[in-house]
Amino acid sequence: MTALDKKLLRDLWDIRSQALAIALVIASGVATSVMSLTALDSLRVSRDTYYRENRFPDVFASLQRAPSSVARRLAEIPGVDHVEARVVSPAKIELSGYEEPIIAALVSVPVDRLPGVDRLFIRRGRPVDVGRLDQIVVSDAFAGIHGLSPGDRLGIIVNGRRRMLTISGVGASPEHIYQIAPGSVFPDFEAFAIVWMARETLAAALDLEGSFNDVALAVRPGASVAEILAQVDEILAPYGGLGAYDRGNQLSHRYLSEELRQLRQMATMFPAIFLAVATFLLNVVANRLVGTQKEQIAVLKAFGYSTGAIGWHYLKIVLAIAVLGILAGTALGAQLGKELGELYMRFYKLPYLVLVISGPMVLTAGGLSALAVALGTAMAVRRAALMAPAEAMRPEPPARYRTTVLERLGFGAWLSPASRMIARDLERRPAKTALSIVGVALAGGILMMGTIFDDSFAALVEIEFRLAQRDDIAVTFVEPRGIEVLSELRHLPGVLRVEPLRAVPVRLRAGHRSYRTQLEGVNPAAELRRLLDHRHRPLDPPATGVMLDDFLGGYLGVRPGDTITVEELTGRRRTRTVAVAALVRRYLGVGAYMEISALNRHLGEGIVFSGAALAVDAREKDAVYAALRSRPGVAGVVVRDAAVARVRETMGNNMIVFAIFASLFAATIAFGVVYNYARISLAERSRELASLRVLGFTRREISAILLGELGVVVLAAIPLALVIGRALCAVMMVGLQTDIVRIPVVVDRDSYAYATAIILASTALSALVARRRLHELDLIGVLKTRE
């Protein structure tokens, strides 16, 4: 090892605590990045593998009913590789010992052959046997939560008739990675199941022998999906086709894609911010190192070391720190990424997780960090290398101080000598002071990104479930019902108020953009189901026109006054142009709304309702619930409290995990910044402070000078941190918007207090360490060498 390399190691050892703090910051950035990218890549590859192996279809369509011969016509469309005609139906499940209503989506499977698309992944047991038409395969999440195994029996009510069926297997399908009941936003594995059964059995139960009401197609590579969609629509139109759609509009695929997009957002944003802070820190440290080693640099140059060799030497010190951070970050990130991927798997029902730690990705993350770090220190290293030897050896001229603004304004008399020193020092180097304040503020800002989820979710629940959806129980009917159903419901003991609901599936179009969703009726003067404006005030629905939530409005690129095309996907299936009357604010799901009688007029099916929202006396809730459940015409009953709990639980499982990591990392950064600042001030001022000690200042007094400066910087940084934090949160939440959820940016006092507390705690800790060093100040050593 060369002597210069030994110097490198010893210099590193000298600044080890700072180096460690910086390496931790870099590690945090790299870990977040690798964690997100590992989770992202693993999920993506797992999904793609699953799609490929289990033949996820390319095109989907539902219809009323069509004879099997129509499927053959679909197969003849150019570019179609395979057609799987199916029978599907909603159903209810009865499970002995479980009181809550369970909704099932029944899907037919061929028993005598392997389907060409959408093959089941059988986790336990076997597929439905040929000749055993009473067998079913149930979705694994549902089976898992209820402890169901092959051989168990389930009561299934379909088309009003109850049948006992035997579970032959527990499985999953690529069409149902994201499993939600129709109309819900979040998965509820306890109350929603997917049940696959023999085509004959299901067709018989629905009187659909020789027919199908759902179809999935595989498309040849290179074929135009858009053309196929158009032809499928044309062929199915006479049979009540509900509009064919591609993967982009398939619920499960779309939700999963959105989630992966969010993850990518996280994977770039957090590391970028973390690295910016690390770069800043390294810059400060490198500058300081160069400052304190001015004379050594001069000597090396005097003895013939080249500019390049000296630059490389200092760059190596910095890179050593970076590499340490990168290695630690990669190891930690890969581990966390695997865990994050597994966590997502529990939410999205992927049957397996292919762990992907991509070398290029890790190299990119590491390379980018190293690059950022090198850039961050480039100036300092350049300064070191280019310093003219004679100049470097000359003692630094005494720093030029002057009286501060405060003193010139006449406050000087109020300042103690110590505070004067602090003020002059801060003012003498405004750039350094400003950068330090910004560094601490950035750390504080990142801290808030970690804590904001709590408050924001609370606000979301408050707005969605106390201001917008205020009903205690909502029921949906199997078929639309006439107005008499409302009085029927109102006469149930305990029901205080009934508001009708009406919803139809539609496809909305504006320009070249389209979106499938529900068009929902809204009651004027509603008490239970209300729309809110941008300031969360209840909005009375205008007598005509459609209202969109602002996410959908943004997606379609329309504003109030614009028009959109509304294509009904059921009933009379008309397409009409409707004006957008208003945009409303919603945080969960996506929807379009219309005044309820206008909607009924629009649909032209008379005054009918597809469900109702109920306000119920708290004491009678269970009774009302039981009464509703037992009614044959009721397809689903949703209790608000359960819905709220589900939202909380789901959110808890997802972003909060991320938030916890982010807070941990942010706390590390906060400490790293403040600690470095303290150490650098100490190094820069140790001679001055030692001289003061020689002149008779006490330790307390010199501590006050050093820590006073730190204190001023931190106090100035805190308000800025809160502003930056709020802004970062807003940017993050915009990035995280999806069809499923938009999180309002709500930062309440706790978040501010938490960020402030962590900054202050880091400061206190750094101050303690710095104080200990102050006490060890070498007074004789300082005087022995020249200034």
């Binding site: 002597a3 210069l4 030994k6 050594q296 000597v299 080249s306």
Partner: protein, 241 residues
């Protein structure tokens, strides 16, 4: 190793050297026209009061600084026209420096402080030998903070001579030392000069040290006032102040 000296061959030729510092309102002339030759193997003492321009002259000759006007030749190479990389090369091959405040690298031991120079030199002596030359064989693995001032300065001399430079430039090598320690350091310099034949320029403001020189250059206010040849030069150990 036998050394053949040519006391008539100039190592340095300095002609019309000036150095001006513009400091806003005031202009300081550190050198006002210096003409001087330094020959192989001789010891030249630069004597002058503080602020007379000694360090400035030495720094320019050593390739650490550039003059305002005038020229310096090292043998027949004009270093005042050289660029940064050539000067680096020049310092690396031909020049050894000793500074008043030693300027050792605090994080390296005595041996490593010497090694840092021998590692980039063409035909250096072993770091241990260089340290033996200055009488520090038993301090090889001490850090600068574990050495006295005189010992540190001797490490600095060992570091400067280890690459067998043609010239040794010493800026107030005893300035920070008491006289007894200073004499030990000067003895080391004289020994190096004797054994390696290194042309040596020693800056001092201490007139007593001049007695060990072959020639004494008296500098004041940026001008050479007198160049004196010592008919008999004193051994360093016979000096006192």
């Amino acid at each position: 190793m036998p050394v053949t000296l040519h006391p008539s061959v100039a190592v340095f030729r300095i002609a019309g050297l000036t150095k001006r510092y513009d400091m806003g309102e005031v202009v300081v002339y550190a050198l006002r026209g210096i003409d001087l030759e330094v020959f192989e193997g001789e010891i030249v003492v630069l004597l002058g009061p503080s602020g007379s321009g000694k360090s400035t002259l030495l720094n320019i000759v050593g390739g650490l600084d550039t003059p305002t006007s005038g020229a310096v030749w090292y043998r027949d190479w004009e270093l005042t026209r050289a660029g940064d990389s050539e000067l680096t090369e020049y310092r690396r091959r031909h020049v050894g420096f000793v500074f008043q405040f030693y300027n050792l690298i605090p994080s390296l031991t005595a041996r490593e402080n010497v090694a840092i120079v021998t590692e980039i030199a063409d035909a250096p002596m072993a770091a241990e030998d260089a340290l033996e030359l200055v009488g520090l064989k038993d301090r090889l693995d001490h850090f600068p903070s574990q050495l006295s001032g005189g010992q540190q300065q001797r490490v600095a001399i060992a570091r400067a001579v280890a690459k067998r430079p043609a010239v040794l430039l010493c800026d107030e090598p005893t300035g920070a030392l008491d006289s007894a320690t200073g004499i030990v350091v000067l003895e080391a310099l004289a020994k190096v000069n004797r054994e390696l034949g290194t042309a040596t320029i020693i800056i001092t403001h201490n007139a007593d040290i001049a007695a060990m020189a072959d020639r004494v250059v008296l500098l004041s206010d940026g001008i050479i006032h007198e160049i004196r040849r010592n008919e008999t030069k004193k051994a360093a150990r016979d000096l006192h102040w």
